[in-house]
Amino acid sequence: MRAGPGRRRFLLAAALGLAARPARGQASARVVVVGGGFGGATCARELRRGGLDVTLVEPNAAYTSCPFSNAVVAGLREMNGQHFGYGALRGEGVKLAPHAATGIDVRARRVALPDGSVLDYDRLVLAPGIDLRFDALPGYDEAAAQVLPHAWKAGEQTVLLRRQIEAMEDGGTVVIVAPANPFRCPPGPYERASLIAHYLSIHKPRSKLLILDAKDGFSKQGLFQQAWAELYPGMIEWVGLSAGGKAVRVDAGERSVETEFGIHPAEVINVIPPQRAGRIARDAGAADRSGWCPIDPVTFESKLLPDVHVIGDACIAGGMPKSAFSANAQAKVCAAAVASLLRGEQPPAPKLINTCYSLVAPGYGISVAGVYRPAGGVLADVEGAGGVSPLHAPPDVRSREAAYAYAWFQTITAEVFG
């Protein structure tokens, strides 16, 4: 017998649903999901397919994807390809609360909304993503971000950075200020540098790109630096922490970045500031002193709050990076765990996969992958697995990985929003 995806969905739904229904004749258990990004939307959809009563709290009418927004910055792609609505979720019976949650009463198991109404829950899933810290780098606040864009939440900021680069004269300098770990999308600043260099090498070849970094190493570093030397010789300079790369102050009026070693004026300055879990999770008490949310690696339950789960960029996922792939994989494990727990059963230990592609140029992709399992209270790397693309590989490998990067984006956005 051969069956299509519909049957597969049905089987998964049956698995989750029968597990989760409290008892015959009772109403379905209520799960509230806060945040409609790759993690929250995936989780809401999976929970709903299991027959649960699911409300997704998300103020935006559509999600704007950070993955592939670096291609928008570099003029390789338009913003309209980054937006994904919630119509498919609504069609499957996920209730949408189009608000930003204002508070969480953990004892009453209740989420407050700005119109004064509340959502009662049996289990709560927090997927708030990141907040940019506008208190961490002197001179960098929300007003400064209108001049020195972060573009680390996709949308207007993405377009602003692109326009600044397009308006720059040939021979100008673009500076990217990169944060210390942990932060959303570890290879992201370097993919961005690569694609901006691609644009500059065609349109403004006398220009330079300087990365001022608060750390001494970065994701896929060997691969990026090899590709930079090959594709953009002399254009990109990376300055790490011990060489004086850490920004200590920015000046939006002067358009400059100050490090311990000197002041760098530049025509375009992209400041990727330090980050922490989204405010709603911190206000609820789900975050520790690090600003991120510790979780049980089997169930994604908060280690600090009962009946609350945290997934995606906001959680402390051990070896798993803060990526859309990770958030999607975590969401599916979390949904199954929530269903088990509502049935009164302890979920089995999961394994999770992450794969992150980066484009160094159109047709030139590199990747990092990992496999993770619960160990010592965190999600630890499975030793011997994972790693980055080979340093020495023929062009067809780079070109296939670029094709896979696009394929992954098509697939994951279809799974989450399509």
Partner: protein
């Protein structure tokens, strides 16, 4: 337990879809992030592939016998037993 879950998945999945199904075995839920059932892309779909075919491919990726860009790195994270459970689940209902 895993062997039983695997058998139950195949039997119940084919014959009694209304009854409870086992949860995805460790790792299996991650696959659909790249291998979509509803879109045609450069990444091969797993749709219509038998559990044996998937398990054999994973074994060959793990040993290096079959060249790959990323699946060699992913396959090394799973034992043969885990791989067979994933293959059976991914192939469920076919």
């Amino acid at each position: 337990v895993r062997a039983f879950g695997l058998g139950a998945a195949l039997l119940l999945g084919a014959a009694l879809p209304g009854l409870a199904q086992p949860a995805a075995p460790p790792g299996a839920a991650s696959c659909s992030g790249c291998h979509g059932a509803h879109v045609s892309t450069a990444i091969p779909s797993l749709e219509g592939r038998s559990p044996d075919e998937i398990a054999d491919a994973m074994r060959a990726f793990r040993s290096g016998e079959r060249p790959a860009t990323v699946m060699n790195r992913v396959a090394k994270g799973f034992t043969d037993e885990e791989t067979r459970a994933i293959a059976a689940w991914v192939g469920l209902g076919r």
